[in-house]
């Protein structure tokens, strides 16, 4: 059965820029009310600003008018201000209007600030919710294809790009149009010449700023590239610090990094030069535009067409117009970024679930937990199966041990049980029901996992244990914890079960973390329990006690255990030996030890076990931490995500 493509084949016609643009604007729908009020407050604000500029000019004109008339010589300012001299009254009135406008602007500024933030945040709320939920449910094959760091990036920075662009596209565009239009109209009311002259530099200005933004882009990308290389060098250096130190290669490493720093500095300076060359030109254009307007104003005042205050108005108008037009280049750039980001976001949101649920799916009927694999063949890449024609049957309540070398397919096999992936051929039955015909919820609540790499969440110990059934009582939590031999060390933590774990909380040793993961699985009260190398980091003595506890707690539970220690394997009712994705031997430990074959060889090599247990406790040594190559990638992704912690709505 060929797998359906994970991401719907995007026909170029479907995913063109225009489609993506429309797609992005759909995000506005749930917040259309806020968007409208944001636009209204923007319109009012711009109106108030233009009227303020006009009123200021009127004030100056008033002063000039009364100055020329020169009627009285009042004794002092206060007397003058409170007198009913016509000129004082006139100026007071003008300033009062100005005060009214300023107050209106103040209120509108407040409104804009709040409404814009709301628009931005509400909108992103719904998009992010959709992305989050999709990422949770899309299925693991999707996560295998796109790296964790990349997905985090999409959910954070790509989403920010799209959000910023939608805001810009709506509000900034409106602002530019209204400001430019409004001021041109204002100038027209004074003299058409000023309006014409103000329009003249705009094409040149627009052309030059857009051209510059296009030109500086490669320079910026070059800076980013070299900067990324710097980060790679550092990350790699940290990962290989043992090798660096052992071979006394520090000078060599420093020289290598310095060379790249040199390159970085050169790129940065190149960009600075470009900017330094751009600035005099745009400022030159702006200067010429302003001075030409002032010259015109001077002449027109002499010709008695304009009044002195108008010169202020002209200056303000020109400045506002050019300032807003400068943003066009930015919009263009944002648009380019947003389209790229939208495409990547679309890929996430449009991906089909990788394990589709049948429309007539029923809940999994109750049963003892019998599992049957029938000719199961599976490959992450369908062309390269990692499991070939696996067939076996386990009655409910038994323990099955899976053994075999690294890469034999043990972990893959147990993951198929919970439909993390669907096999390409064959089927899997739980208590006689094909797992593809039942709802995912009902299946997965019946199967609990303890994974090879323990993943705990940055939450309290109790919340981590109760992960599968939130809202349980502390007594339940403690019971599971005791069974997994975790209670003792948890009790010693600063806040016991309320201690917060993770990057920002207490750190535990590998063995302690595994015990919490076991408690978490037990707490879920599964019908089938999967222990994937679950006690590798626990010392053998504790392991014995854990298994003792498990035997008592799990009398009716079917257990799949992947283990390297012989003691664990020996206890199983059935041992399945996998090699290169094939089931090569099956039987009890004793049977298999009698038979010639892989099992006996494996048993021989197991003499001293894996070196995974970190005795250093809380201080897992750097080297041991780095044995899992994913650690570093995750740390890097985490650092990158944390780097972008500037609060979202900050200007």
């Amino acid at each position: 059965m060929p797998d359906p493509p994970l991401i719907p084949a995007a026909r170029p016609a479907d995913l063109n820029d225009r489609y993506l643009l429309r797609w992005m604007f759909r995000f506005l729908r749930p917040v259309i009310g806020v968007a409208v009020s944001a636009c209204v407050s923007l319109v009012l604000w711009i109106g108030a600003e233009i009227l303020t500029v006009r009123q200021t000019a009127v004030a100056v004109n008033t002063i000039e008018r009364v100055r020329v008339r020169h009627v009285v010589q009042p004794p002092n300012f206060w007397a003058w201000l409170w007198s009913d001299a016509a000129e004082a009254v006139g100026l007071e009135r003008v300033v009062l209007v100005l005060a009214g406008l300023s107050l209106a602007m103040a209120v509108l500024t407040y409104l804009r600030e709040v409404v814009n933030t709301k628009l931005s945040m509400y909108k992103v709320f719904y998009i992010r919710e959709a992305v989050y939920d999709q990422l949770q449910r899309v299925g693991l094959r999707f996560h295998d294809q796109i790296s964790t760091g990349e997905l985090i990036n999409r959910a954070l920075s790509d989403l920010q790009n799209v959000r910023a662009f939608i805001n810009t596209a709506v509000l900034t565009t409106l602002e530019i149009v209204l400001i430019v239009g409004g001021y041109i109209v204002l100038l027209l009311t004074r003299t058409p010449w000023a309006a014409l002259l103000a329009l003249a530099p705009l094409p040149v200005w627009l052309w030059y700023t857009v051209r510059f933004s296009r030109r500086i882009r490669p320079a910026q990308e070059a800076v980013m590239r070299v900067g990324d290389r710097n980060i790679s060098l550092i990350t790699e250096n940290i990962a290989g610090v043992h090798v660096v130190k052992a071979f006394a290669a520090e000078p060599h490493e420093i020289a290598r990094y310095s060379r790249n720093c040199d390159r970085f500095l050169r790129r940065v300076l190149q960009r600075i030069r470009m900017f330094a060359n751009y600035l005099p030109v745009v400022r030159g254009i702006s200067m010429a535009a302003h001075l030409a307007l002032f010259m015109l104003a001077g002449v027109l005042i002499i010709k008695r067409v304009l009044q002195p205050g108008d010169i202020l108005m002209l200056g303000a108008a020109m400045g506002a117009i050019l300032g807003r037009l400068q943003q066009v280049a930015g919009i263009n750039e944002q648009y380019q970024n947003a389209i790229v980001s939208a495409r990547r976001l679309h890929e996430v949101l449009a991906a089909r679930p990788t394990v589709p649920v049948a429309p007539d799916a029923r809940p999994l009927p109750p049963g003892p937990g019998a599992v049957r694999f029938e000719h199961v063949t599976f490959g992450y890449d369908p062309a390269r199966p990692v499991l070939h024609d696996i067939t076996f049957e386990v009655p409910g309540g038994r323990t099955v041990a899976l053994v075999g070398p690294t890469g034999a397919g043990k972990t893959t096999l147990v993951q198929l049980l919970a439909r993390f992936y669907d096999p390409q051929a064959g089927r899997i039955l739980v208590d006689g029901t094909d797992i593809r015909s039942v709802t995912l919820d009902s299946l997965r609540t019946q199967i609990a996992f303890v994974f090879q790499e323990t993943y705990l969440f940055s939450d309290s110990v109790a919340a981590n244990i109760a992960y599968g059934r939130p809202g349980a009582t502390p007594a339940d939590v403690e019971f599971a914890s005791r069974t997994a031999q975790a209670h003792e060390f948890v009790a010693e933590l600063p806040k016991g079960y309320e201690t917060v774990l993770g990057e920002r909380g207490a750190s535990l040793s590998g063995g302690q973390r595994q015990r919490l993961a076991i408690a978490r699985a037990l707490f879920a009260r599964p019908r089938i329990l999967v222990l994937d190398d679950a006690t590798a980091a626990v010392d053998p003595e504790t392991e014995e006690r854990i298994h003792g506890g498990l035997r008592a707690a799990l009398r009716d539970v079917t257990v799949f255990v992947i283990a390297h220690r012989l003691n664990t394997v020996k206890r199983a009712d059935l041992v399945l030996v996998l090699e290169s994705g094939r089931l090569v031997q099956a039987g009890t430990h004793d049977e298999l030890m009698q038979a010639d074959g892989h099992y006996r060889d494996i048993a021989a090599v197991q003499l001293y076990g894996d070196e995974q247990f970190d005795a250093e406790g809380e201080f897992a040594s750097h080297y041991k931490r780095l044995r899992d190559p994913r650690t570093l990638a995750a740390a890097r992704a985490g650092a990158a995500a944390a780097a972008d912690t500037r609060p979202e709505a900050q200007p």
Binding site: K118, M121, Q136, V243, Y455, A603, A635
Partner: protein, 636 residues
């Protein structure tokens, strides 16, 4: 269309509201995100700027001239207004020709002023270009120095630093924190100086233009100051809260993507979404609260600004109408200076906030730079002379944390050329012995002697030059296979590398790579098989020709052909070198000259395989129990 459906559904039902309850900030032991500026921090900053003091001073001088020139614009405006209004106010001559001549004269004067104005502004713009280049170049050079110093510091620091520091934090130091410093060194200093200069010069020009108007508005300055003090702290806290809330949103998201397997296995999707939306709602509330505060702060400043404008218009109007100042131009100029003075104040709040964030990063970088490595060469360290490879542990006790030893009183001697196998259960301290020989750590008690020299008294460089190391991870650097092999001897020619590989027996495997020695190794050597990577690591160690060779044997199995190749190469590699091996293969253990059996950090048995079997202790018991379970001898 799933998205649209979801959005619609969201519209239709009373789902989570985007606006939740704001976060109450509780102090944590996290790294602080904000750092007020104090003298100590300033001193540390200035230390890095000092080498570029001349550039900075030149930049500041240019900035002063530029700003003074730019500040002449209101003066030109005043002159133009005064000329034109004087012309308009003057009674027109009766003679049309004289009137036209007077008009021309006035226009010419305006044109002359505009010309002069153009010259002044052009000069200012050119100075600005120069100032930008000088200042940003100086800032980027400081960044360059910092980056290199930081990297060099990371090379200096001991392994214990790497053990106790979370990986993400080390990476953050070199990325986001250094970038935060950039905010200070490159544009922060520039912005501060420029804004201060603008305010000073604008104030001075206002004073010069019309002292009475200056005195009339100067009373507003304390008000501005008070408003800034009042709001700045509150806004700072509000943004801090917003930042924290946002961190929680992004952390939750990153965590759930990383732990998607657990999420899926435990069916937590609905619950997680609820939690996430709660966090999102909180984030929204925080941001809206900060926006409210900012929405009060900005207009407050604007209204004070307006008060100044009103005073200037009213009082200036009075002065102009009574003839106390000549012409309305002075009023306009004063008005403009006031606006220029207010400009920096209006942007100050946001700037201050960013500066505090940058300072927090800056402090962390400086702290890292000031850290002293725990293992370093003694001041009187001598280079280690060429050695034979005699290694002696004298009552060595060591713990990664001093109060929790992982090795107790380890005492043994390895003769030159011997192979010592370290065996024992997981966590018994095998790797720690290797790490101590490599001088990654310093023992708390006892000493380690190489050819009679205490390794504490020799330079690390000379020690490591005579030492080779291959770890389980088989770490390879990005670059070619060739670069990796000659990592310890960058001057080796490809021919020498080939010769070494042939001597070791790894050449065929290397030549079989797509581009032979020039094959690129991907990040962490991902595109090579385990066996190939191991062979490259062996060749690297072989080329370095160490006297002491440390090996942490890989546990993972490789295919049998490669396995034979690895074994053969290993046999040749250890020949004639003192070798310490954390053994995972029976063949390695059985072939060793001496086996040290470790248990919980102590040597409990030692001797050759035969001796230990004859001795009948723990080693013999383990060996019999597992290997002779069926009576079959292991195939070694």
């Amino acid at each position: 269309m799933t998205l649209l459906a979801r959005l619609r559904r969201r519209l239709g039902r009373a789902g989570p509201r985007p606006l939740g309850r704001p976060l109450e900030l509780v102090p944590t032991d996290d790294e602080p995100q904000y750092r007020p500026i104090d003298r100590a921090l300033l001193r540390r900053m200035l230390r890095w700027l000092r080498p570029y003091a001349r550039q900075y001073f030149l930049g500041i001088a240019l900035g002063v001239v530029m700003i003074v020139l730019e500040m002449q614009s209101p003066q030109f405006m005043r002159a133009i207004i005064n000329i034109t209004t004087a012309f308009v106010a003057a009674p027109a001559p009766d003679d049309p020709a004289a009137a036209a001549a007077a008009e021309h004269a006035a226009i010419r004067r305006v044109a002359g002023l505009i010309g002069l104005w153009a010259v002044v502004l052009t000069t200012a713009v050119l100075l600005q270009r120069w100032a930008i280049i000088v200042m940003t170049r100086a800032g980027e050079c400081v960044q360059f120095d910092l980056r290199r110093a930081l990297f060099a510091q990371l090379q200096r620091l001991s392994m214990s630093y790497y053990d106790r520091t979370k990986l993400g934090r080390i990476i953050s130091r070199c990325t986001s924190d250094v970038n935060a410093l950039r905010d200070i060194n490159v544009w922060g200093i520039d912005t501060i100086i420029k804004n201060v200069l603008i305010m000073l010069v604008a104030g001075a020009m206002l004073l010069k233009t019309e002292a009475r108007l200056f005195l009339a508005v100067v009373g507003l300055a304390p008000l501005l100051f008070a408003a800034n003090v009042y709001f700045r702290r509150r806004i700072s806290v509000a943004w801090q809260v917003a930042r924290e809330g946002w961190t929680r949103v992004s952390t939750n998201l990153a965590e759930n993507i990383t732990g998607v397997r657990v999420v899926t296995a435990f069916n937590r999707q609905n619950w997680n979404l609820e939690v996430f939306n709660r966090l999102q709602g909180m984030n929204t509330a925080n941001c809206v609260r900060a926006a409210r505060l900012n929405g009060v702060y900005q207009p407050t400043l604007q209204l004070i600004g307006f008060a100044g404008r009103a005073v200037i218009l009213l009082y200036g109007g009075y002065l102009a109408t009574t003839g106390a100042v000549a012409g309305v131009g002075a009023v306009v100029a004063a008005f403009l200076y006031w606006d220029l003075f207010m400009g920096p104040i209006l942007t100050f709040g946001n700037f201050h906030n960013q500066l505090m964030m940058a300072m927090a990063g800056a402090e962390r970088v400086y702290d890292l730079l000031d850290l002293e490595p725990e293992v370093r060469d003694a001041p009187d360290a001598r280079p280690l002379p060429p050695i034979a490879g005699h290694v002696r542990f004298e009552h060595v006790t060591f713990g990664y944390q001093p109060d929790r030893p992982v090795l107790h009183d380890i005492d043994f001697t390895a003769e030159p050329g011997q192979t010592i196998a370290l065996v024992g259960a997981t966590g018994s301290g095998k790797s720690s012995v290797i790490a101590l020989i490599a001088r990654f750590y310093q023992p708390q008690r006892g000493r380690i002697l190489v050819d009679g020299h205490d390794i504490r008294g020799v330079t690390g460089e000379s020690l490591h030059r005579q030492m080779g190391l291959v770890l389980q991870t088989n770490f390879l650097f990005t670059g070619t296979v060739l670069d990796n092999i000659r990592y310890a001897r960058p001057t080796a020619t490809p021919a020498e590398v080939e010769q070494a590989a042939r001597a070791l027996g790894s050449w065929d495997a290397i030549a079989a790579l797509p581009r032979g020695l020039l094959t690129e190794v991907g990040e962490r050597g991902a595109n090579m098989s385990l066996g190939q990577r191991q062979l490259i690591c062996f060749t690297r160690a072989f080329l370095a020709d160490p006297r002491i060779f440390l090996l942490d044997e890989a546990t993972s199995a490789v295919d049998s052909v490669t396995e034979q190749l690895v074994q053969r190469s290993l046999t040749r590699l250890v020949q004639g070198r003192t070798t310490f091996v954390v053994a995972h293969r029976l063949s390695t253990i059985v072939g060793a000259d001496c086996i040290l059996v470790l248990d919980q950090g102590r040597i409990i048995e030692r001797g050759t395989h035969a001796e230990l079997l004859a001795h009948g202790g723990r080693y013999a018991a383990l060996y019999r129990r597992f290997v002779f379970h069926t009576g079959a001898a292991p195939a070694d």
